[in-house]
Symmetry: C2
């Protein structure tokens, strides 16, 4: 079924062994897992900057301090006794698509697969902040994880902040369960922040400290990393997930080329779409560049992806399928993506070549 | 803390985008997960040749036929009503270490991380075979998964066989639970074969058919793939896991280089070791090429890895740590590994460079 001579397409610049090590540690979701509303825990994407920390869960506490009236310290049981919320949330890495930029920025070399949708259970952050009593002049709330490493010449704990108005949104959780079970270590056990609608770097894992600041937070991961950098210009901050649709590549595949083959005739092309800026209102599917609307399912949740289906009558020959989402705010996806130095926010339209043959 | 100019090490030949897609789908276990006796489900390695099949679990049946007296068909409930065995099993991909060969054979580009140890629950295969009544002249038993794809120009179901004497060993299970829960789709739901001590390709996922043959099985995955190939010479069959020790790289790391830094003084270097040919009896740790014995823990199980610890007094400067295992049968690990075309069975000694500084 295959042409005799096929070449694999070399990465440009050549992927390094170090980046390959990152790729194996930091797992993608196989795209066919979009057939499940909720991603099985072992298929959800992972991005861990350094190592998974070796936490003593019996000694673990969450401290809430800084510019507050009443600093508090909470055990996991304290958190579990608070009001619990369970909700499906789609999460995506800000670097998803990094290796599809040209030239390829160095670092975790995601193609398309840094996504997942889990049912997260936790307690709303804002009630905990209210209990601690934020000072009137608080501007940022800083979240510190137990993971330690070096990045950009800086030895650091992993830290990200949210502006006060984002930190106190009702959907922001302190999450201790994923898909009905305690968090596995790689997902931040025993507790992580969960910020629905935002790229994953915001949802700090292995959370140990929350501190209220009366000045803007100036940490590395907030000010140097996660910026739409061009040369020396750090550029805009990366925050919410850009609108995106992805399809499950139809047909069957070959190893190791991952080409797609299917028989001519009716085929139901399926996928998911999401945006951090509002509900998805439209998904279009392109067949060799001609676009048509896909049929939309109900969204899995307010902050979770929406399924879509496109009925295609596949004809003999090779075809390029593509898909793009539009959200309620009118955001859609580019056919050509502007490059940035950190390889962030790439929501370039996905293209899948399929070979239709009897 | 970092030298000003550091270059990442390019893959040779350059890794392809297709292989990178494989790397994200086929997940490695972060080596620090060796701190857990049992690998959390979401960190166990995965190797899926093509796509995860879309099975209708309500319609799923296991058929047992071929050269048997009484062909049978079993539901999952039928299998769950049979005697159950739970045991920890260490599993490794036969291609683990493929990208460490030079030149790098094409395909799933594992470095070290294609391992994991889970608690598997299932029912012994041999009782099911006895119930079906194997003909006297059976030589091979063939296991077929529901995954379909193309490899080596052959469109195929995934199929592997075991010789009669291997198929009827008491430790071979039809497994329906992993770590106390039903299999997740990517691990073969609803049922997989589990062959302790063998490389993972033998433990067929999404199992649908078992057939007894009175002639040797000649399927692609049995006769063409998984051979220690040199040029046109297909070479020996790959079967049981070679002896191997791996260490958790000590200290902290930097992104994206994955270099290791630690402070001078006592450090406990830890890891795991296993072999498909018998219990591990010795682990040695090399410090700049000088080898000493590590202390061995009890094995996690008859077919599961054994922990080890080496107390090292780290001194200023850069050092190369390494480790190697020896099993009861006298098998150990090479310092130089002979190349083979499919990139299989590479149990080359792991080397980890650490930078010791205040």
């Amino acid at each position: 079924m295959e042409p005799a001579e096929i070449a694999l397409t070399p990465t440009d610049p050549a992927l390094s062994y170090e980046e390959l090590e990152l790729a194996f540690r930091n797992r993608g979701m196989p795209l066919e897992a979009m057939r499940y509303d909720i991603t099985p825990t072992g298929m959800h994407y992972l991005l861990i900057h350094w190592d998974i920390p070796d936490l003593d869960l019996s000694a673990w506490r969450l401290s809430v301090g800084g510019a507050v009236d009443r600093p508090i310290e909470l055990t996991l049981d304290d958190l579990r006794r608070r009001p619990a919320v369970t909700m499906p949330v789609t999460m995506e890495c800000a670097g998803n698509g990094r290796a599809r930029f040209s030239p390829r920025p160095e670092g975790q070399p995601w193609l398309h697969e840094a996504i997942g949708t889990a049912e997260w259970t936790g307690t709303p952050l804002r009630h905990v902040l209210e209990e601690a009593g934020l000072a009137e002049d608080v501007v940022d709330v800083v979240f510190t994880g137990a993971d330690i490493g070096i990045q950009g010449d800086v030895r650091q704990e992993y830290q990200r902040s949210l502006a006060l108005e984002d930190a106190t949104r009702e959907e922001v959780l302190l999450a201790y369960e994923m898909n009905g079970r305690p968090l596995e270590p790689q997902h931040g056990a025993p507790l992580r922040l969960l910020v629905p609608g935002w790229y994953g770097m915001t949802s700090v894992k292995w959370l140990t400290r929350i501190e209220a600041l009366t000045r803007p937070f100036d940490g590395f991961q907030q000010q140097a990393a996660y910026r739409m950098q061009q040369g020396d210009e750090l550029g805009a901050y990366v925050t919410r997930m850009a609108a995106r649709a992805l399809m499950i590549p139809p047909g069957i595949t070959d190893y190791p080329f991952r080409r797609r083959y299917l028989a001519p005739g009716p085929v139901s092309v399926r996928g998911r779409a999401w945006s951090g800026y509002g509900p998805i209102v439209r998904v279009e599917v392109g067949v060799d560049g001609a676009w048509s609307d896909a049929k939309l399912d109900e969204a899995v949740g307010r902050y979770a992806w929406r399924g879509w289906t496109f009925d295609w009558d596949a004809t003999d020959g090779s075809h390029e399928l593509s898909c793009r989402a539009t959200d309620e705010a009118g955001n859609s996806q580019p056919l050509d993506q502007e490059w940035n130095a950190q390889g962030l926010g790439n929501n370039l339209v996905q293209r899948v070549v399929v070979h239709v043959q009897r």
